[in-house]
Amino acid sequence: MALEVADLSVSYGKFVAVESVTLSVAAGECVAVIGPNGHGKSSMVTAVAGLVRRGGTVRLFGNALPPGRADTAVRAGLILVPERRHLYPELPVRDNIMLGSYARTRRFGARAAWEDVSYVLDMFPELTRLLDQKAGTLSGGQQQMTALARAMAARPKVLLLDEPCLGLAEAVARRVYDWLREMTETDMTILLVEENPVHALMVADRSVRIYKGLVEVAGGRGDTA
């Protein structure tokens, strides 16, 4: 298994956002996490990425990831594209992308990081003309492309995507899903959080539904449960 999550729980004070979630994703598989807003989907992927405190275990290719250590998760090959992108608005697009590979290239300098920028520009050529523009001045769609490019610069083995099309225009959302479909044809392992099950099952091999912080039902491609 590429990603194994067992008994995962997330609490914010007394509020339990995620309770005892167990799921696994095989290498090269794309699994969608669906369910209504506010039921713990984002908390779950954020915890898997090591960005919030959690209970339970997360294993990446058999190796346990320590809770709350995002840097360890990134170095092991797991990266999150968060719901609100969380770019660095005053830094140019080039630096935003370059920092995606920080965990791998920090010891090798800017030249090594620049190689990763070139690598992702092949995937997102529309960003080439925006490299010197501050990320905070980009449109929503351009910001989403930059967030995806930043994640790909890390050369991840497992990609966590949290609502990648939220708030995007139809044409931009289609572009994101076209790219995602291309990714599913590679050996990339993907965990996709998506509120809309129809969208999710267009690209995912199967889905799990989270309701009130618990895994409720599972479905396969073609289901829209």
Binding site: A70, V74, I79, P82, E90, D95, L99, T137
Partner: protein, 294 residues
């Protein structure tokens, strides 16, 4: 002509003081969005601590500098571990405006109290790193310590600018201040950058205090004034651009000196604040404050 040159050097010297402390404030604010209001107290500990170690403890000057800077670094590390780590990494402290000002303001008061208890209320000055009489050409005179002050400010400003502009580590440091969550996503250790840049700027401020003290002397109360001067210079550089803080600090020092020499020194503070208010209100983009972050 010689009056102009003398005023120019005097202005550059006082401007270097504005600039270097502005740079120390700006680089740390850029990383963690907190103002280091204790930066002047670190400078005070640099100057007085070294003077005390040399005059009272009998250490050789260089050894005194090394021991003093190590002590300042250790104090900064301790403060980060005891206060900032708990407040920012463990989520125990208050955030918002309290976090921006209060922790380092409290540190400033603590350092002031410790300095008074250890060193008393005397004026102290570390020995000069470059001893000797002022350098003179005709009627143009310049203190050796003044040359060192200007040189240290320019070299430090350029080094900080180059670090942030050209290195992966500098970009990562900037990203920490832009988006804490966003920087953690790519594996940047926010706490590490906050800690080491805090320690680094504390040591730099202390070093600058040692270099500068033969010119002005320090008391246990010197810290807050220096921190205020630094905050103004950092404000001119939008609190985020250390290289610009040094350049602007030098420019302000020269304008102040010329105004004092040719008009009246009474207008120095008026000029400084009027200029800052004017820019914030009418040309905020000059300070990099024009664009709304995404």
């Amino acid at each position: 002509m010689s009056q102009f040159l003398n005023l120019l050097v005097a202005g550059l010297t006082s401007g270097a003081i504005y600039g270097i402390f502005g740079a120390c404030l700006a680089v740390w604010f850029r990383v963690c969005n907190v103002l280091n209001l204790a930066v002047g107290d670190f400078a005070m500990f640099g100057a007085i601590g070294t003077a005390w170690l040399v005059q009272n403890a009998g250490l050789p000057f260089i050894a005194g500098i090394v021991v003093d800077l190590a002590g300042v670094g250790l104090a900064a590390w301790l403060f980060d571990w005891v206060v900032l780590h708990q407040a920012f990494d463990r989520g125990r402290g208050a955030r918002g405006i309290v976090g921006v000002f209060f922790y380092t303001f409290g540190l400033s008061l603590v350092l002031e109290g410790v300095a008074r208890a250890w060193f008393g209320t005397d004026v102290w000055g570390a020995p000069s790193i470059w001893p000797g009489p002022a350098l003179s050409v005709l009627d143009f005179h310049v203190q050796r310590a003044g040359i060192l002050v200007i040189a240290v400010a320019i070299v430090s400003g350029l080094a900080l600018w180059a670090y942030l502009r050209f290195t992966v580590s500098g970009r990562a440091a900037s990203a920490c201040g832009e988006s804490t969550f966003g920087s953690r996503i790519v594996g940047i250790d926010n706490a590490k950058f906050r800690r080491w840049i805090f320690i680094g700027t504390a040591v730099l401020a202390a070093l600058f205090g040692i270099v500068e003290s033969p010119l002005s002397g320090f008391t246990y109360l010197s810290g807050p004034t220096i921190s205020l001067i630094g905050t103004i210079a950092a404000g001119f550089a939008s609190f985020r651009r250390p290289g610009r803080a040094v350049a602007i600090g030098l420019a302000i020092g020269v304008v102040e000196s010329m105004l004092g020499g040719y008009v009246s020194s009474s207008y120095n503070d008026v000029l400084l604040y009027a200029l800052l208010f004017g820019i914030i209100i009418f040309r905020p983009e000059v300070l990099g404050l024009g664009a709304e972050p995404a």
